[in-house]
Amino acid sequence: MEMERQETYDIMAVCLLAGKIMLQSGAETYRVEDTMMRIAASFGAHQSHPYVTPTGILFSVEGNEPTKTKLIRIIERTTDLEKVASVNGISRKISAGEYTIEEAYKELKKISESGSPYSLWVHVLAAAISSGCFLIMFQGSWGDFFPAFVTGGLGFLSLLYFHQLVPIKFFSEFSASLLIGLQALFFVSTGIGGELDKIIIGSVMPLVPGLLITNAVRDLMAGHLISGLAKGADAFLTAFAIGAGIAVTFSFF
């Protein structure tokens, strides 16, 4: 009896850790729930109910004894697709019976503690390059490529910096987009850049909450109403912060 109870708790710990990593890394709600149920089922807990929202996971497992329920809070959410893919791979291996509960927990712990596969400067460079490319995609001229490259890269770097300084998303996004607006204004007024609008749109793209918006609508359509609305609110807040930052720049001239 005692053994069985302990095992149920162990299964729950593995499921919750997997769910937590996935949710924090930006996976869709249905994927988190599905993965947790699959892991539980392959360890022998066939009756489980995960309830996933962007800010917390409730998980209960039914067995012979009274139902056990656990809750964990999710505070920080980022986008880390590598982790989503790794947890997905581990869940596949668990389903195939390749891991015991303990091994699975150790593997998941390793993923949760691993850092980003790219260094900070690779991130900034990627943001800079994508800003330049977006400028061309939105029919900008090649002469504006360099201003957008610099503005986008510095804008993204400042987003990371401000977020470290004050861990409030709205503030860091607002400051970063304000900085982008000012840089674009500087480039245009010195004659290095041509079209102000195109430069700003291109450089703002790395901040745009594209993943959040689509995840929000998909969650809503899949029936996860609370997650959908919460993610929609998150996306709206980000869009508003970016817009407000740019708007302040426009009020300068």
């Binding site: 893919a85 980003s116 690779v122 995609m137 594209g210 689509t214 009020s251």
Partner: protein, 151 residues
């Protein structure tokens, strides 16, 4: 010439976005391809006078098909590919213009643009979901034929 330029920049932009989102290194190339396919559909349709919303739905649909193909082939979550693909379609430019008009007190035009941005983000989601539904229908109907055969 414009087409080549668009193909190249959309490929690079989508792949760079996957780096920003910490995507797995081995899927960078495929993500770039997915983004390129989606953007070129959108670009060509829009250049030929198709309505923006419809062009977005078709582009999102093609992105979802390509993503599902890669996801199945490389056993990775479909979201990695679809995110890379939809980023170029996100109506950043329109939302920006809406905001700009709000600030310049031209509310009529601003609301107009904001509604358009909302429509386009909705149509991205519809394109993705629609293709997922079709995929599920195909999978289920295949399952049925297998079940029927085994009986």
């Amino acid at each position: 010439m414009t087409i080549i330029e668009q193909l190249l920049t959309s490929f690079i932009a989508s792949a760079a976005f996957v780096i920003i989102f910490n995507g797995p290194k081995r899927s960078l190339f495929h993500c770039g391809l997915v983004g390129m396919v989606g953007w070129i559909f959108y670009f060509l349709l829009e250049a030929n006078g198709v309505d923006m919303v419809l062009a977005t739905v078709i582009a999102a649909f093609s992105i979802a098909i390509a993503s599902q193909y890669f996801a199945k082939k490389y056993k990775t979550p479909v979201i990695i590919y679809s995110v890379a693909g939809i980023i170029p379609l996100v109506p950043g430019g329109i939302a920006y213009n809406a905001m700009r008009n709000f600030v310049q007190n031209d509310y009529n035009l601003a609301i107009n643009l904001a509604a358009k941005a909302f429509m386009i983000s909705g149509s991205i989601a519809i394109g993705l979901v629609f293709s997922e539904v079709i995929n599920q229908i195909i999978r289920k109907s295949k399952l049925k034929t297998i079940v029927n055969k085994s009986q």
